[in-house]
Amino acid sequence: MQKVKQLIQYITSYIAQRRGPSRRPAGRRNNQSFFSVFLSSLKSDRLALIGVVLLVFFIFVGVFADSLAPHGPRDRHYHDEGGIKRLESPTWDHPFGTTDVGRDIFSQVILGTRTALIVGFLAAVLVTFVGTVVGIVSGYFGGMVDTVLMRIVDFFYAIPFIPFVIVLAAIMQPSLWNVILAVSMLSWRTVARIVRSQVLSISKRPYIKAAKVAGAGHLRIMFRYILPNVVPLVLLEMAFMVNWTIMAEASIAFLGFGDPRVTSWGQILHMNSVSGYSRVAWWWNVPPGVAIILLLVSIFFVARSLEAVVDPRLRKR
């Protein structure tokens, strides 16, 4: 308990220290900071700029999905004469057309944006958190601790993704949280390995020895000295993880193992596929498909530019 308190204290003091604008007078900031380099690289990197604009657009749609969606995702729409609007191609009332049971696809795609973003970011945060902690502990302590943790990582590397999700969905209720859990359980391994390799190099540097001589304990060394030096790498990994988790969620939902109560892009494609109209109703599967591609591409462009910040060799000269 004491340790947990200490840990929280370190993390908050670290954040306060990084934030505190009062501590550093203007113009005396560390101009090597991660985000300032990223922002300046946006000026020259056209693709990254496109990525950021697209991403902001998606986040806007996701946040205000309830107000932007003209109809409920499960509402049936009828003609004035009373018949259901089955498989209607795009019109002004229904920009992306309707499904075989008369539901508005436009509304479904907008609501699916939110699902994709929630799953993407929550799972990515979870994955990077677990992966970073495991990576730092493993790399810093080395020896037995390292061996045991890395064998656990190897174990998780050996589990194939889709079968694992199918089994998990069979055992537990299909819900959005279980999807996030399943994706996270099989993704932290990558982050853990990458962070570990970076920590291996950092923890041998003289300033870590200096901290030890100053009397700093393991926790303080790990979170005050090592963590700040892996943060850029962790943020980059997180960006890639967002991409991967969104794709994983879409695959799971497409295969029908997602949460049936939550509208998502993968689920729209799933319904389209099981309805048997996937070859006829292009307006049914193209919009969610394009949405997935655009979101993934936008995040990829951002992540790619973050990578150039982390690794200066990738920067344009």
């Binding site: 020895k209 200096a210 100053a214 700093a216």
Partner: protein
């Protein structure tokens, strides 16, 4: 005189792929209060490992380290942490020993924060005091290490070591990464601080001129062993061990036209994984005798404050 630090039969082995590497092989030494013991030797002879083993930055394999009469090798981690307030280190490379992500005032304050002394000692004022002590201008408070030159960075390293008011500091090649023009500044700073605060130094260097400048006594190391210990004056005027003589003859003389007999050693330093039997210097010694290869010469004391491990000396003494 009271011994601040005493090292008895210290060993440090590393397990390498080629076999057991004896980086520090049975070393004994002492340092009295207020004095500076210089440790010289060529690269890879175990100087730095000795300095680090004394602070338990690497755990010694065997032997005893007494700090003010207390054995520190048996201390539990928490007790050792407290001990660190009295024993500090200044590192060789001031570019690597400062965390690039922390401002220098925070680097200097860090030891105080670790021991919860920051508030008690008036935090910022104490940092300002330390910066003043090592000759860093106040306007540098919020700079980051990469904005400073080598000399100023090393001053930050010195200030950090002084933050906890230690009694003993290991200076691990503190000037060898610096420009010659700045070396003298830092050396003078170290001596000045030593006098003012009554510090005791273990000064590790490969540069005999530097060691001569700062040390009261000098220990010469070769392949993990101390071959000769004596006063700083003696080592230059009356070296006894052939290795010390060879080392001294390699110092360039800053005078035109003056020549000196160089003692050129043959071969390379033998691998510490597989050191020669008998005297460790036997493979390269110009005066090597048969018994040198068979048995290690004893440590003898031909004069007070002068110990040597060589048959040439011990035979002469009878």
């Amino acid at each position: 005189m009271e011994h601040v630090l005493e090292v008895r039969n210290l060993h440090k082995d590393f397990h390498t792929k080629k076999g057991l590497l004896k980086a520090v092989n049975n070393i004994s030494l002492y340092i009295s209060r207020g004095e500076t013991l210089g440790i010289v030797g060529e690269s890879g002879c175990g100087k730095s490992t000795t300095g680090r083993a004394v602070l338990r930055l690497v755990e010694p394999t065997a032997g005893e380290v007494l700090f003010e009469g207390k054995s520190i090798l048996e201390l539990k981690p928490a007790q050792m942490r407290n001990m660190r307030r009295d024993m500090q280190i200044i590192f060789q490379d001031p570019f690597a020993s400062l965390d690039p992500r922390i401002s220098i005032s925070e680097i200097i304050a860090e030891p105080l924060r670790v021991f919860n002394l920051y508030k008690k000692q008036g935090g910022e004022r104490r940092v300002a005091e330390l910066m003043d002590l090592v000759g860093l201008s106040k306007r540098l408070v919020n700079t980051f290490p990469h904005e400073l030159d080598g000399g100023r960075r090393q001053r930050v390293g010195v200030a950090r070591a002084l933050a906890l008011d230690p009694k003993f500091i290991v200076c691990d090649e503190p000037v060898s990464a610096l420009d010659v023009s700045i070396q003298a500044q830092i050396l003078n700073l170290l001596q000045d601080i030593q006098q003012r605060l009554g510090l005791t130094y273990m000064f590790i260097s490969h540069d005999l001129n530097v060691v001569k400048h700062v040390s009261n006594r000098v220990a010469v190391m070769y392949l993990g062993k101390i071959v000769e210990t004596t006063t700083s004056h003696n080592i230059f005027t009356n070296p006894q061990h052939p290795y010390t003589k060879a080392l001294l003859s390699a110092i360039p003389i800053p005078k035109v036209g003056q020549k000196r007999q160089r003692i050129l050693l043959e071969g390379d330093v033998p691998s510490p994984v597989n050191p020669p039997s008998g005297c460790i210097f036997s493979a390269r010694c110009p005066y090597v005798m048969e018994k040198c290869r068979q048995q290690e010469p004893p440590m003898v004391e031909p004069a007070p404050e002068h110990t040597v491990s060589c048959y040439l000396v011990s035979d002469e003494m009878g």
